[in-house]
Symmetry: C2
Amino acid sequence: MTDTAVAHIATPEDLLAALGHRYAVKKFDPAGKVPDDVWKALEEALVLSPSSFGLQPWKFFVVDDRAVRAKLRPASWDQSQITDADKLVVFAVRKCFGPADVEHFLDRIAEVRRVDKETLASFKQMMLHSVSQPPEQVEAWLTRQVYIALGVFLAASAALGVDACPMEGFDKNEFDRILGLSPKGWKAVVIATAGVRSAEDAYANAEKVRFPLNEVVQHL
Amino acid sequence: MTDTAVAHIATPEDLLAALGHRYAVKKFDPAGKVPDDVWKALEEALVLSPSSFGLQPWKFFVVDDRAVRAKLRPASWDQSQITDADKLVVFAVRKCFGPADVEHFLDRIAEVRRVDKETLASFKQMMLHSVSQPPEQVEAWLTRQVYIALGVFLAASAALGVDACPMEGFDKNEFDRILGLSPKGWKAVVIATAGVRSAEDAYANAEKVRFPLNEVVQHL
């Protein structure tokens, strides 16, 4: 929320070192902690993530309760990250996103930018058009926005030296049930665990597998 | 691809300054250029993006040809970023992703990690199961992975001081046609323009609109 110039905060070499060091942690050090100020910044990074129209159709549930984490593990193919990582974030999308959510967003714009809501009429129409598509299409579109936040979170974690693991291998319905997300109007779409990689995680030193740049990036 | 420790490359304050400075650029400086080494790093960041199983079901088309950019603009609601930004990246997903793509990935793992493909049999079965779902579901799942790369790209751009704008408001079929993506087996899903913000872009100094942290992040 600064309006002063920020030239850059990392060199190309440093950025690539951090992204190269990053990997999907298979085994966390159960004693490893993310410092409070660093975690706070990652939560703020989630808040600052871009989304279509800036709608922010998401909520990020940070599961601190260890007993709840233990219940979630069987719903995640018993993957150890669920209980061993310092942090577990459940990325959720708004269910049945509709005109009321658009109004809520417009209210926030008017509040933050101190503008009259009436001046946002054409913007409102664009958004209402988008959310009037078939519900499954709207949900798929908004779910993709949540994945932008996941990408930002993983890159931000790498920059701050926090190890993480994005995870899709979990029972979404069970997560919704255990965390009570449905009655609140939310639906789990993807999760990320974060903390400190274990010295015993063999994958930490495995060569990263990527297709060559000239196969993945093509200039036209 | 380093196996040495990278503690962190940014402080929490710097990271938040960069993400706060970032915004969806409406007007680029047509004369503004991204330095070559910085752009190369952003291409590498795309390559390093995480994806489910590490499948990398994507390709990133960087449209350098100005005449082609001019043709794409009418297919993008005539938005000026398409022609004025230094860079335009079309994020594409693999069409009809199937067993052959899984094999291609397994070949790459075997090559990079110098392991026998036979040792990857159970991993292969998991991936084959995932890609055997109904085609629309597979495509929706893989498209979400592309959005992770978009999030990484936007965060990496912010870290390197490159201004950007993610864009969904374009005619995907027209993009596929103009760029000839379909016969190559790709489908445009989202685009990002990147370069230098114009001093005339009023949005550059507009307050960023986000819901409060305690509304977006909930501890359980």
